[in-house]
Symmetry: C2
Subunit: 700 residues, 2 copies
Amino acid sequence: MEPKTLFILIGTIAITLLAFGFAFFLHRWVQKQPSSNEKIAKVGQLIRNGANTFLRKEYIALAKFAGIVAILIFLFLPSPVWKGQILDNIIMTLAYIFGNIFSALAGKVGIFVSTSANIKTAEAAKKGIRPSFLTGFRGGAVMGMAVVGASLLGVALIFLITGMGTALLGFSFGASSLALFAKAGGGIFTKTADISADLVGKVELGIPEDDPRNPAVIADNVGDNVGDVAGMGADLFDSHVASLSAALVMAIALGGDNPALVFTFAAIGLFASIIGVAFSKMGKNDDPTLALNLGTYVTTAIYAVLTGIATWLFDYNWRIWGATIIGLLVGVVIGLTTDYFTNDARRPVRNLAKASESGPAFTILSGVSYGFLSVLPAMIGIGLSALGAYLICEPLNTPDHNYAMFGVSMAAVGMLSIVGMIISNDAYGPIVDNARGLAEMGDLGDDVVEITDKLDSAGNTVKAVTKGFSIGAAGLTVISLLFAFITEVNTAVDNLTAEGVTGLTKFKYFDILDPIVFFGILVGAAIPAVFSSLLMLGVDRNAQRMVQEIHRQFQENPGIMEGTSEPEYDKCISIATTGALRELIPAGLFAIIATLVVGFIGGVNAIGGYLLGNIVSGLLISLFMSNSGGLWDNGKKYIEAGNHGGKGSVAHKAAVVGDTVGDPFKDTAGPSINTQITVVSLVASLLAVAFLTWNIVSLF
Amino acid sequence: MEPKTLFILIGTIAITLLAFGFAFFLHRWVQKQPSSNEKIAKVGQLIRNGANTFLRKEYIALAKFAGIVAILIFLFLPSPVWKGQILDNIIMTLAYIFGNIFSALAGKVGIFVSTSANIKTAEAAKKGIRPSFLTGFRGGAVMGMAVVGASLLGVALIFLITGMGTALLGFSFGASSLALFAKAGGGIFTKTADISADLVGKVELGIPEDDPRNPAVIADNVGDNVGDVAGMGADLFDSHVASLSAALVMAIALGGDNPALVFTFAAIGLFASIIGVAFSKMGKNDDPTLALNLGTYVTTAIYAVLTGIATWLFDYNWRIWGATIIGLLVGVVIGLTTDYFTNDARRPVRNLAKASESGPAFTILSGVSYGFLSVLPAMIGIGLSALGAYLICEPLNTPDHNYAMFGVSMAAVGMLSIVGMIISNDAYGPIVDNARGLAEMGDLGDDVVEITDKLDSAGNTVKAVTKGFSIGAAGLTVISLLFAFITEVNTAVDNLTAEGVTGLTKFKYFDILDPIVFFGILVGAAIPAVFSSLLMLGVDRNAQRMVQEIHRQFQENPGIMEGTSEPEYDKCISIATTGALRELIPAGLFAIIATLVVGFIGGVNAIGGYLLGNIVSGLLISLFMSNSGGLWDNGKKYIEAGNHGGKGSVAHKAAVVGDTVGDPFKDTAGPSINTQITVVSLVASLLAVAFLTWNIVSLF
């Protein structure tokens, strides 16, 4: 390894250690905040136990799955163990296992922190909005630092030890296959609980949200943690790892200081996030939304400046810096346009709220319509950033070196560079949401509930921005994974031809007019639709089971409603857990198996088309679902704030229906699709050689 | 022209005349059926007047639009009038205008027949289900014969007179741009009326469907005619013309007897439909669904046999016959799988009905989930038929002749060959639906209403099959239009190079990895989402206006509800008309303008990607919307048949919400997307030379 690369790697590892230290400091700071209220502590303990139970059961189930996959990887990847180097197969297997473990740890740490920060945040709200904000935000930041630190450390160590692109893809596959199930399972759990609690509590009985008499209320709070914190952490961990791996696969093929460049830029991203988090505080104007967004902008600015300095200092090419910055800026723009469609000061939410006066059908129609409309700016944005990054770097191309594709992957790295800050903002959401519930259940008084309400609402607004950001980043990442796939196939063709295999040709282009490619495109486009369908049907079935259980409890024990008897919270948690695990497997397996079927039937051409179709329709559907879900959520909140008749009005009832539909859209199916695309892309890259050398079409 | 081609053309024209004669015979037969009931005659007259008013206003608006486009075509196509042959520009302009006129006539004839057949069908139901079925079906068949006859006659005449591929595309563009607005306008009209009538009538007041006290009830019946008959007729006219034009553009480029082959197969399709229609009667088992489906299968079989004989007789290549039959068979398979998702004897409808017990949110979630699931078989089917047709014909390829692409276009021709029968089935639906309403409004008694109910339900079931068929056919057609686009570009490159223009290269492939293509794909994929969003927002706004009007009438005139005073039906019709015209323009223009923007910025590469993205996402979204809409409709009907509590139950109320959401899905946005894709593909082909020679990217 070159001294420069080694130096950068050591620096990168040092920064990840700094991030871990900072996370530990933040964690200790949060722990030191007071928590005196016994009732809250008790409920908080229930939530923590529920979350841990779910995570344990989920990880046990996934460990079995991962074990089987690990054996398959050992046997077949990078080449069949009886043909190639056994050491390579061991490395691949270990990389895959580490990917799983790191991803699981990220989720575990998140749960550990969020289930204590929620109590402290509720308690701090007694002192005012600013200390409460800081507690919630710093709790979220522990997660942000831990996730990005773990991702970068893992990638750096694997590169340092093996230097192999395939091993990085193996690590990334481990991370994303776990994320797929964590996101899907957590998503099913959280929405099962949320929908059932709302349906019986708010709609049927008219008791408030988070009323402790509702048997599903603890499950609902557990869901916020396992779905939004653990699932989201695993998801962004996976995107971050995937973007770095894709960039590094190409950087390794390009050689020179390109791998060093990838690490430099990634490490600066983490460092900028550390600074951004450290200085994030609520200003005197008491606006939590502003504080969160300001943190993001400051981090972005620091990143742009520091990477510029690094480019000058280490003599990297300015064009690549440009590609990275394009990705970052477009990410911000996508976030802002997403905000337009879900912000209650804008027309879409306002019109939706007004349409709700005519009943739930109009709420749904408005939401679907604006949801479809909202995909346009993001699709154009992703397309423009890929195009821009490509064109900027194209002049660097040589016959053997495709810098243009590398530029696109660096745009993805750029967009994901400030992910430490994004996760901090994102994890803040469920923490303050939980704190709001705890404040209500712990009878902390209306003032305190109001403060947590305000913090919660800021969390929802910022969520739209961060969500747009992560879908955009996922889009660019999978485009660069498509390039990584091509790179892998072409490398394999070179190697196999050198070994004497004949008849293989490199990809010079991917022809839409090739009917095999076209066939792949059509099938690939259907996958995200089917995948999200399976997840939503899972939520639907599971919620119906849970509603039955809640009805049973109220019927058999009238004391619950009178407040004299405690509901059996654990029964609801158990139903959500078992159901989520039962429903997540088919959806996850479907996506993977469909990829294998298409690949072994149609070979690399079909898979190329399949990846493209998958990316295009995946982006479309996930943008649609995330945005319409957010729109319904905020439409309901807007009405609850007293507009169009406020709570209890016809419009409100209609808006609740919209919100219930939107819940699995935005928190189960929509964000899981990101992970689904990544997993499918990685499976394709890992099996590139297998699809190339053995497929049914080539037999004819 | 070769004698063989001339002979076939004359034969084709003879068969179209036979079809017109047969249509006239059927029309006279329907007219001769008795209609004595004065009340029905009066209501029938109201419906006819409303439909004609709408059509007149719509056509006036569209004539202005078409006039502007005609001027632009005269000035610029096929090449700027000051540069090329003025005669060619005149031909193009006339072809475009004739496309518009033929398409408008098809809609007009449909309305003329359906608004009298509905009365006769209601009246015939007094004599029993079999005469009533025959009246409804033959009324629909007039439309089927007229539409396909007009399409084939128009294409044959233009080919006979000009022999120019571009003129055919111009004719096709005229047909489809009118269809775009007719479908969108009719779709907005019909769903505005339907939703408003249901919402106020069924939900708020609890009066039955088609109750004459409802001020929107006539508008609702008018809507069935202008949306389902005129709109659908224009839509399938457009698909049929487009599939023939795309095949002919390639056949002309291939030369030889290939144009003759296209006409032979198309003429046989029409002939088979004539026979199928002539022998369609209800059997002794009194099952109207069976009768309709049997007609389709018989026509399919006749078509397969006769085209086989023709291939042998005229010495065409058997491989092309094979490609055509693949298209036809896959069309049937797609229809059957669509049926699975919307048939109330199957799991999706059953599960949806059960989920409705938990409230409207679950109805919506089930429908969206199964709707997403339903795209898979159709996408695979379209992909497989394109792949199969391509591979079968690939051995015929020579360096200069791409028979494989021609094979795909012939699969589309095959799938659309029996469209005469399909339209007959489809137009049967709104006729019996209207008849049901007339029977209720005319107090023909419960027995008669029950018979028309049964006929109506068969219409809904068959609709699923025919709709699957038409989306599949549209899919294959646009794929072949993509090939036609390539053919046009390559021909233009040859011509321009011969004229001394340098630097132009033919398409050998369409590279996904070209960032301009990729950018085009992402933008193109967003278009159908935005287009359907604009249409649904239009319905939403328009329905809100109409609900206000209905409320106003009931408030100001209490006599309406008591039955002592007649509501002002025409006010509702007028609102639906004005609103539909106001809302359809932005959606239609958006799709066309977006194509121009992408083409003039990114050139032919961007447009190629754009077409691909448009096709893939268009198919996905239209399948999703059509199927989930059908599912909600039949779920509601299943509950109304007495399941899960029947009418008035919680499940029924939830199902009504689902049905209201599904209405614009399946009758406005979903089917309009087909036309949108066709229009965009044709614009791209017509402007191929312009995009090739002038675009912003090429300036750099």
